[in-house]
Symmetry: D2
Subunit: 295 residues, 4 copies
Amino acid sequence: MIKYDKEIRVAALIGKYRSPDVAGSLRALSVFLREHGVNVLIEEGTAEAVGAEGFEIASYESLGLAADVAIVVGGDGTMLHSARRLAEFDVPLVGVNLGRLGFMTDIAREDMLSGIQQLLDGRFTAERRILLDAEVLRGGQRVFQTLALNDVVVNKGEIGRMIELKVEVDGEFLYVLRADGMIVATPTGSTAYALSANGPILQPLVAGIAVVPLCPHALTNRPITISDESRVDLTLVAPHDGRVHFDGQARFDARAGDCVRIGRSSHSITLLHPPGYSYFAMLREKLHWSAAPKH
Amino acid sequence: MIKYDKEIRVAALIGKYRSPDVAGSLRALSVFLREHGVNVLIEEGTAEAVGAEGFEIASYESLGLAADVAIVVGGDGTMLHSARRLAEFDVPLVGVNLGRLGFMTDIAREDMLSGIQQLLDGRFTAERRILLDAEVLRGGQRVFQTLALNDVVVNKGEIGRMIELKVEVDGEFLYVLRADGMIVATPTGSTAYALSANGPILQPLVAGIAVVPLCPHALTNRPITISDESRVDLTLVAPHDGRVHFDGQARFDARAGDCVRIGRSSHSITLLHPPGYSYFAMLREKLHWSAAPKH
Amino acid sequence: MIKYDKEIRVAALIGKYRSPDVAGSLRALSVFLREHGVNVLIEEGTAEAVGAEGFEIASYESLGLAADVAIVVGGDGTMLHSARRLAEFDVPLVGVNLGRLGFMTDIAREDMLSGIQQLLDGRFTAERRILLDAEVLRGGQRVFQTLALNDVVVNKGEIGRMIELKVEVDGEFLYVLRADGMIVATPTGSTAYALSANGPILQPLVAGIAVVPLCPHALTNRPITISDESRVDLTLVAPHDGRVHFDGQARFDARAGDCVRIGRSSHSITLLHPPGYSYFAMLREKLHWSAAPKH
Amino acid sequence: MIKYDKEIRVAALIGKYRSPDVAGSLRALSVFLREHGVNVLIEEGTAEAVGAEGFEIASYESLGLAADVAIVVGGDGTMLHSARRLAEFDVPLVGVNLGRLGFMTDIAREDMLSGIQQLLDGRFTAERRILLDAEVLRGGQRVFQTLALNDVVVNKGEIGRMIELKVEVDGEFLYVLRADGMIVATPTGSTAYALSANGPILQPLVAGIAVVPLCPHALTNRPITISDESRVDLTLVAPHDGRVHFDGQARFDARAGDCVRIGRSSHSITLLHPPGYSYFAMLREKLHWSAAPKH
């Protein structure tokens, strides 16, 4: 991973959605950053939750343009949300976890200030993560579009026990899936929902996208990893409607005949990691892998 | 995939190991190629099995240097063997299948001559496939080295019910695996043994290597796909000896303390496919996936 | 399996739900049965779909009391529905399949009359299958109750990406499941939805119930088979609501705090199979298992 | 589970195989038991390892006939071994674990004496566990026979990458398996090797046997649970030889054509559990399941 030592003059603070309990952490961060000559912006929704007083408030758009870094205090869900909102800007993200460490929030609450000191000292490393660009086509027209850092999930809607999806990769027919649904995940998302559906873990620097069926009727419909330069089209075969979920946060109700088209976004995000960060160590911790030989 | 239209002046023929029953096919091929002005070499082991008469015999090394294409008549096993033997030369491979189509032998016996006609007409496409370079280190010294197109498998030896492997990626500790063994597979090998061990299918153009535990004691030791620029070290933790298998064809008996080091080879091979070849269509056929919507 | 040679004097006919296309089969059956001195009743919903003329119509309740056998013409879904409706009566079921054979409908349409002839000749065998009795408790009060031949599924409702279920077996705490949901399946249901969620196949004469998590967050939450004399309680942990599905046909919207209590019903059903029926042969056919050694 | 309050007048002590480090525990046990008026026998192999002095030595056969209980100090492997040796006698087993608790050794070393006090006080409960009876038939003649408490595993031998097994249940053909091997496991063994091969967990009171393929070539060859009154025949299809493992402790080299016949033994063993023992709590501990809702 690459050293990240750009000077930080403006830092944006983003807190967990509607969570007043991050107020203390954000104020401490703010004081600390200002003492070190860094201007601080607070995201407006966060300000609403924790109280605006003494903060300079900014929308995602404004802070996307102005900030040198976004410090996200919350969990992986908050990181996902911030990443999607800031994707079109070039603001790197740092995650501070309120509870136990997350897949993307690798600074513990109690190490927050010493961590940020190391960030200011230029001791962090930078890592690029791809995003998915997903759109829904109806009769050839785009009716919805959004980004996802983890995954796009098409699953059965209100009615019925399964959906039927025609799956194409780069316009080439793959198969018709009869299943609860399909997960299309980035390497980042490969350790999230896709993992619980028996998907493969993809190291973030693998240029791949995991295509993972949810409870497929055919036992041979196994997960496939395709190139991240490929495009996946999932078309809902009549009579099944379906639902499309983006990072588990946004949702679109799709109809029979709709095509969900998914590919790598032209945007990507940058995660900043503290010294000593290791992807494998994080996996080991989160998945309870053995730490060392018994001997 | 890229059109392959280099002129073919010398063709090498390789038959299934010790199989006299490919003699007829090879003779028909030979006659056909000569009629089209192509010089024909036959691999010496093949000649021994089918009778040398009327053939110009060559070692793998000689035909590697001289041939513009190697036509392999057999199954996937024969392709694996030929690929490993010819990897250091730049000879593309074409596979003719004796029985039902294989993952890599995509010309049916009955379409052999019309297929080869299309090859001579420059209508085939070329696809690169990576190979693994595997070596066994003992006390820091290399004691074995070979290539694999599908996979390198380290598993338990004669004695005992499991082995214990320290797994490192690019020198970084991943975990200690207690299992029957570990499969390290290329995208080509991802649809072979690794698939039966719950490994992920990797589309051949994904630049990844699948690391797939065999019956791991810890249920969270799930398959991981790493970058094909990464190196995997599997070290046998005492007291367990192990066996190392390369494409299921070569084998090395490793001792406790030995390190099996696996990475992408600097060599790769080129598979030539007939017009109309589709990787997904092949998977659909081999894995009995649905061909089309019911409606 | 036990020979079934009770005399058949009254046969009930049940057709696929709202399917006029079973009319021909039902009329042919009716004529055939009467020619053999068997009285014929037709289920009233079926009569509505296929036209009542010339049939003696009966409700499920009436035919449950009067019929010696129920001949179900449709697919596995029709069998499930009929089984649940007739469970409290002691009417054995025979399944005639309209399309390819089902898991429970083992007489092909073209063999229908010869099959029924064998039934009348006392050449069928009888097999008991358990049913699940499921009830939903709210504040200790039963608010819903029904039977299921395949499975009871509790899954996430409209909102949210997972549910949290406290799982108890015979009042003893098992674990808290964070997942898409949980399937509780009979041996009959073990080859249906549960199989696609990685559940174990249970031979029908195993006195067990499969408890199969749907996409569990914890990778160690593996399927468990418990005794069919055990009772499973699934309690929705706040704030998650959920949905409960019974054989994929009935549904109940459950709230946080509700307990879904599932155990073996005191009722069971009897399936009648034609001579030559084999459970394993059926599995082999449905799951595309190999028929014989290659040699 | 049933209260176990038979008077204990003779206790047998069995230690971990060739492990001098259980000497202290065994001596402490011995002193304690004698102080409580219980005669103590020590298994002869154990005596060899820990020193015989002051102990009354007995073979498995003698102590099988004389003892009211066998106290096993070691791990699950020691329990397996003792269970197989004592199966034909009616001696219940109590397991004391040297390290962390096992699946079958549910008294921690530090609770040993208070645990045994509770045993003498009649406060333990008794649980029956089935054993498998396995024999190898060659040309119709039995050439090997033994018992297994966990599992019988047939897998590939020295040569080759897979074996081919004809699988029959109660004489009825199931399928031909092409795989690394096959595990046939009791409920006790369902949480051992079979679990790492994706087998189902069977609660001990389920009267079933798990039949679990090891890396099957056909992705639809899923684990099946059959009745424990059924018999499984696994016949090695030529040209493949195989190895048969019994609880991972005994081994038999089988040849092509050999039939491994497995069914429930007429013997069973009795495990005694301390007050408060819970199978589910043990699973929760061993499989790292959640202990309680987060809330």
